[in-house]
Symmetry: C2
Subunit: 121 residues, 2 copies
DNA sequence: TTGACATATTCCGTTGTGGGAATGTATTGT
DNA sequence: ACAATACATTCCCACAACGGAATATGTCAA
């Protein structure tokens, strides 16, 4: 099984950096595709493709006006992502106090082994 | 250029549903790999591979104890994700009031066209 | 209609993915 | 030393993603 489709959920949709750029740019006001292209300096087909992904997961609102198509970030759709990260928020303070307690213990007992580190690779 | 590597940043790392499950499971307490396998009912090599990705982006802490390896979510590492979603939070109330204003205008003028909808496809 | 403009879609090629199965490595107990 | 246990790594593979280029669709103006 390959990677999940980018359109399967917002987590996969926002995994791409340019799509995050687009969402940030469209958060305040709606903009036509052409402005996204010129402002973010991306190729037009690329922008259209990214917008399709964002549309498919409901992360943007669309409004057509003549030849132009205006997009705007559907900020409400980002809430699930916000809520998910918030479930970890409660542990921030707890984990901090644990680290603090361990630091004090190390200082008192001379324990300098780096337990509980973020070990990459 | 294909999709960005899952290890390129936390956005790509948490795009995978199982990795989110693992992070949620390891948020409260550290657990050995075997428990992750039995609790989440995933294949052991699969779990090890997911844990490697999470390690590479710093989303988990590792502690070895004999034959067992204990993992715990590095909740601090999730903060950038939380901060990113928070940048949209300020627009939630604004966008809501806009929608409300439009709804009132529609009610008054009999405008039932569905402008500003989340149009998929 | 024809042409210009704005955006969307299709085709192509390269690449990383995630599952399964098999194998490798480290640690412990006998 | 040997077997058992706990994880990690490797190999294979089907597949979707992304960029670029080309092309298609849709709308307006003359």
């Amino acid at each position: 099984m390959p990677r999940a489709a980018t359109t399967s959920d917002i987590f996969n949709a926002v995994a791409e950096a340019r799509r995050r750029d687009i969402l940030a740019y469209l958060a305040a006001d709606e903009r036509p595709v052409g402005e996204i292209v010129s402002t973010l300096k991306l190729a037009q087909p690329s922008v259209s493709k990214h917008l399709k992904v964002l549309r498919d997961v409901g992360l943007v609102h669309v409004r057509r006006e003549g030849r132009q198509v205006f997009y705007r970030t559907n900020v409400q759709a980002i809430r699930p992502l916000h809520e998910w990260t918030k479930t970890f928020e409660q542990f921030w303070t707890h984990q901090l106090s644990r680290v603090k307690a361990r630091a004090e213990a190390a200082h008192a007992g001379g324990n300098t082994r780096d337990r509980d580190r973020t070990d990459n690779r």
